[in-house]
């Protein structure tokens, strides 16, 4: 079993239980709570404060990938005319809508509401339109203007626009649920969200230690509560426990790998369908992914508690996938330096164009700025059909041999 190469975290059962409970509650037990499907970058704090149960189809897409169910679900969508070039999370989701019986967990619960936020991609607009047609559920679109500015700062009119839409979103949700949003509850939820994000950031930062206490699969698996349970006490409790465990690993110099010889950075979403197998190719060389650009994507800064709507508007507009190439290159170069990595691996992800288009330039910029080499791997985050194992192994081998040479020199 490839998994044995990984030191299991003590908190792993807690993580498993949390996620299982989330899906079970979503499906069978959420008394009095309407179900909202929302995108990973949507302001869940408002949803939770209104006692709406959030469900994340993207997370479900990852689950389909990890359980090897993605290809079958995608084929259901493709048979209905959806192009195989579209995002595989979205295709899996459309497949699940049309064939829940054969889908993992028997499919997601039917949404009462849909909230899509464009800060991660343009696909989520079309995907949620498809869901709205399928379920005849009301759809709210939160439009977060993309930031091309080199300093990563949104324009003042963009923030005004997003804040106005957040007010509109609240009115929409209040009307749909016949509830009133309590500003105190919103602040409380936003603070819980902010706390969990802060703890997760500390966990990720602790991987600057040598050896790193975590490797990429650990980071990918442990980010799930940040996506699905952000804004809950359970989420904060989990990250407190994880932080404690990781701090102990760092104190005792416990490495995620049997032996850490190389430190790497990962760019883009995980290859869920080959999660362990893929990263094991690197483990064989003693290469640990100590940091990535993806799992830190969930930020929630309550910089002004008197004005939670403004804080939400800024936070959700400035997420990294809503930022231009130069900001992403700058942030990546910063991670390369701070985490002291020997190189970086970029997943050119056929399913995620906003993340992938521009990677060739980012690789060049980061290498120019840091002197560290980058490897490009073409695959798909959940559809295994475009995964060429032999070609990928050959590329990894060449890259790792190159790193070995550099280490010798």
């Amino acid at each position: 079993m490839a998994e044995r190469r990984y030191k299991k975290l003590r908190t792993a059962p807690q993580l498993k239980r949390l996620l299982e409970q989330h899906y079970l509650a979503a499906k069978y037990f959420h008394p009095g709570k309407p179900i909202a499907w929302l995108t990973s970058g949507a302001p869940v704090e408002i949803i939770r404060a209104l006692d709406i149960f959030p469900v994340y189809p993207e997370n479900y897409g990852a689950l389909c990938g990890a359980r090897g169910a993605s290809a079958a679900m995608c084929q259901v969508a493709e048979a209905r005319g959806y192009s195989p070039d579209l995002c595989a999370y979205a295709r899996s989701s459309v497949g699940m809508m049309n064939d829940a019986q054969h889908a993992p967990l028997g499919g997601l619960p039917r949404p009462d509401l849909l909230v899509t936020c464009g800060n991660i991609c343009g696909t989520v607009l079309k995907w949620y339109e498809a869901a709205a047609r399928h379920y005849h559920a009301p759809l709210f679109i939160l439009d977060t203007p993309f930031i091309h500015a080199d300093d990563g700062e949104p324009t003042a009119h963009a923030i005004t626009y997003v804040a106005a839409q957040l007010e509109e979103m609240i009115a929409f949700l209040e009307k749909q649920t016949r509830r009133r949003l309590s500003k105190e509850k919103l602040l409380e939820t936003a603070l819980l969200s902010s706390e969990a994000v802060g703890l997760w950031r500390e966990v990720r930062e602790s991987c600057r230690a040598r050896p790193s206490p975590l490797n990429a699969p650990d980071l990918f698996l442990n980010m799930a509560p940040i996506v699905t349970l952000r804004g809950t006490k359970e989420c904060v409790q989990f990250y407190r426990a994880l932080k404690e465990e990781i701090a102990a690993r760092v104190a005792h110099r416990v490495s995620a790998l049997p032996e850490e010889k190389y430190r790497l950075l990962w760019d883009n979403i995980a290859i869920w369908h080959h999660l362990y197998r893929f990263y094991n190719y690197f483990v064989e060389y003693g290469a640990c992914f100590v940091v990535d650009t993806y799992t830190g994507g969930w930020a929630m800064k309550m910089d002004d508690q008197r004005e939670p709507i403004g804080a939400l508007a800024r936070t959700y507009t400035q997420v990294f996938l809503n930022q231009g190439l130069r900001v992403r290159a700058r942030d990546m170069a910063d991670l390369v330096t701070r985490f002291d990595v020997d190189g970086f691996v970029m997943h050119s992800n056929r399913s995620c164009k906003p993340y992938s288009v521009g990677q060739y330039d980012i690789r060049r910029i980061v290498t120019e700025q840091t002197g560290k080499p980058g490897l490009m791997i073409e695959a798909d985050h959940s559809d295994p059909r475009s995964y060429d194992d032999e070609a990928i192994q050959a590329r990894i081998q060449t890259f790792m041999e190159g790193l070995k040479e550099r280490a010798r020199a």
């Binding site: 343009g122 339109e129 009119h157 963009a158």
Partner: protein, 355 residues
């Protein structure tokens, strides 16, 4: 680029959400950058194979020095690929004016107009700052009149499309968008004054029994129009970005010019990248087919164009419900002539039998 000569410096763009009037009012000639039929090579260093051919080919031409006469390139926020391309372009040409007008995606929102107005003003200010020019309201109004005249001319031409071959329709549209608007006014007269017989192909389309609606992002190569002409079919209507969607709505000629440009962007026929109402585009396109009594619909899709690929299943379902036959052609860059002809021919034969 083979553009009609203009004394104004040129600024290129790829998408009709780019506000031509503002660029023109700043003293430039906005020109549409069209992909070339040559396979891209240089662009491969910047774009993956799963970026659409429009992005790859346009960048390729710039990298090959074929767009060196452009003083700038302006993008509009539409799809994920062009969003990435805008930044790649800026990184590749650091001294060039490269800007993106980040318009709203949800066009029906109550705050979209205010936001877009502010964003268009930011864009005008960026032009002013970079080129040390002024974008005055008077200049904007003059540009609005000019572009409205061009849109009217194209709409007139389109209304008379039955008198022209599909290749002629294709040539007029593509020439119009790569020419300065001043020349279009003359060209409009030219169409009016030309004897129809000079513009007709050997096949009289008026007698053709089969008419089709063409749907897609853009059409830049004449393979499909030529095949339709050869087979004696005609276009009932289209929904291309460089087709009817370009001229379907005018800018109000009174009131604040920037707000008027914003209003047009919010109310014109939408691209699938934008949202107006859940089934707005489905209903509009269905109406196009029904009002024009089209016998069938041809989807002319570019491979890796996600927004159009997403709209295909709901549109196809709507046409199925209305019993309007449809054909999906997915092309990489240039439609393969033989294969396309065989498929279109079979489709048209099916339509003829049905009719």
């Amino acid at each position: 680029m083979s553009l009609v000569n203009t004394p104004r410096p040129k600024i290129g763009y790829l998408c009709t959400y780019v506000p031509e009037e503002i660029i023109h009012a700043a003293g430039f000639a906005p020109v549409r950058i069209a992909p070339s039929p040559a396979p891209p090579t240089r662009a491969d260093a910047h774009l993956q194979s799963y970026a659409c051919c429009l992005a790859r080919s346009c960048l390729d031409q710039a990298l090959a020095g074929k767009l060196d006469d452009l003083a700038g390139v302006v993008f509009a926020h539409t799809c994920d690929t062009l969003q990435g391309l805008a930044d790649i372009w800026r990184a590749a040409f650091p001294n060039l004016f490269v800007e993106t007008v980040v318009g709203p995606v949800a066009l029906n929102g109550p705050h979209a107009q205010r936001y877009l107005g502010a964003e268009l003003r930011r864009f005008a200010a960026a032009l002013e700052k970079h080129f040390d020019v002024r974008v005055t309201d008077d200049a904007l109004r003059a540009s609005i009149l000019l572009y409205n005249a061009r849109r009217r001319a194209l709409a007139d031409f389109h209304a008379r499309r039955a008198e022209f071959t599909t290749v002629q329709w294709f040539n007029v549209m593509n020439t119009a968008l790569t020419s300065p608007p001043e020349e279009i006014r003359d060209w409009r007269l030219e169409i009016r004054q030309s004897p129809i017989s000079n513009l007709q192909s050997p096949i009289s389309n008026l007698q053709s029994p089969i008419s089709v609606v063409l749907l897609g992002a853009t059409i830049y190569e004449p393979t499909l129009p030529q095949i339709l002409d050869d087979l004696g079919a005609r276009i009932a209507a289209d929904d291309f970005c460089n087709g009817a969607r370009y001229f379907d709505t005018l800018v109000a000629e009174q009131g604040d010019p920037i707000e008027a440009i914003a209003t047009r962007e919010l109310t014109r026929a939408t691209c699938p990248c934008k949202h107006r109402a859940l089934d707005y585009r489905v209903e509009r396109v269905l109406k196009l087919a029904k009002d024009n009594r089209a016998d069938g619909v041809i989807f002319y899709h570019k491979k890796f164009c996600d927004p159009h690929a997403w709209d295909y299943p709901p549109l196809a379902a709507a046409f199925d419900r209305e019993k309007i036959p449809h054909l999906l052609l997915e092309v990489e860059q240039v439609a393969p002539v033989g294969q396309t002809r065989v498929r279109v021919e079979a489709f048209l034969e099916m339509l003829a039998e049905k009719g």
